[in-house]
Symmetry: C2
Subunit: 265 residues, 2 copies
Amino acid sequence: MSSVKYKLTIAYDGGNYVGWQTQKSGPGVQQKIEEALGRLFPTPLVLHSSSRTDTGVHAIGMVAHVEIPAAELRMTDHKLSLAINAHLPPDIRIFKAQRCPADFHARFQATGKQYRYFVWNHGPHHPLLLRQSWHVPQPLAIQPMREAARTLLGRHDFRAFAANRNWPFHTTVRTLRRLDIRRQGPLLTFVIEGDGFLYRMCRGLVGTLVQTGMGRFEPAEIPKMLASRDRRLAGMSAPAHGLVLWKVFYGPTGAAEVPAGDLDE
Amino acid sequence: MSSVKYKLTIAYDGGNYVGWQTQKSGPGVQQKIEEALGRLFPTPLVLHSSSRTDTGVHAIGMVAHVEIPAAELRMTDHKLSLAINAHLPPDIRIFKAQRCPADFHARFQATGKQYRYFVWNHGPHHPLLLRQSWHVPQPLAIQPMREAARTLLGRHDFRAFAANRNWPFHTTVRTLRRLDIRRQGPLLTFVIEGDGFLYRMCRGLVGTLVQTGMGRFEPAEIPKMLASRDRRLAGMSAPAHGLVLWKVFYGPTGAAEVPAGDLDE
């Protein structure tokens, strides 16, 4: 039975879900979308995503693929995203559904990812950003944070910045291509891009940089943290709700694949 | 009995309130802050605001003044905002409390206001902007919208763009200083600045401009709408939840008074 493969670009407010994957404590975003697909197609379908986001983490450019039996597919590509969205809660949206080659794989072919992390750096928190930014009321010194960020760029073993897991088979070496810290008034945006990320690595990087901005660490300490490969020597993990999976890159050069939801380009 | 006057800069998520002013249908933001003041000071205090926002409209730079009896004021200015915030729900925040001259008046001395209106212009809505942007899925032509916006700049009678009210004593002439339409991917931001605004005028302007982008109106029709002074000839009113009172200007030249919450400068 022939099938058609679709690449889905997905946005969600992670605040209402236990993460991408379903857990004992509640349903994940993946399950919600698979249930919506179940309302449209008789054959149970499985989503394969580029990444798994943690409880509370948001996305505007998550990518997943799904194979739909050709015989059951009785709609145009545009109608497909409308139809799935019609069966989803408003805090999960398919931004785009595109037919893709049969050998496309959302996870195996991803050549990079961009996350963004939002910090509201002002005494009181911003009432409109409560659910999507980390409130840091203490003054932050941006220059040391940017210096520290520069030492993180490139190919390193990032084990010191990721949550403790068993890594028996997988390498903990990753390449960080970009770590910009933008300031617009009290709003800090961390733009974090790399070929891949360890579990909770983005949050470990941001937490450590923010603590550098508070004076808790010197920029010169960062290379020592990297070298230690010891989670206890790096800084805190920033809270989940400030983090957004912004886009996923595909293609041999890691060239930008700009999703419809991108606010920047 | 001598009193100390404070200028408060206030941010709130308007989605949970009937507006600035209390109505039969529920409490307003003003009442919530007055109740918080009631927990701190024995004398009942009244807030005087620069503006009244409608049900659902947000603010990050609302300004209000309040007079506090000097004898009851036993804290520093910084502590004052912390103390008020401690008695407010998290969706209302005092961003700043500053002592101001005894003759300062938040409404009478305001020399201008800036509103921002957010439109998410993409097929599906953005899960993280559901409560703070207007979802317009149809394609919008930006150039005609910008042309139309230019014809609105300057001093005009804006009655055609405001909600019908009795205007027996007050002029409906206002000066619109700025009406920029910024595009960042699917996100449109309308930056609307003037010496003052009629009831629902911002929403009438944005609704008409968006309908111009849809091809419903030609830019050349806008001056005719203005001249008609007839609400029925202008376009629709954009929904409240896309609108944010961004800042209020004081001073003889209308020079920018940048509140702490400003994301731009």
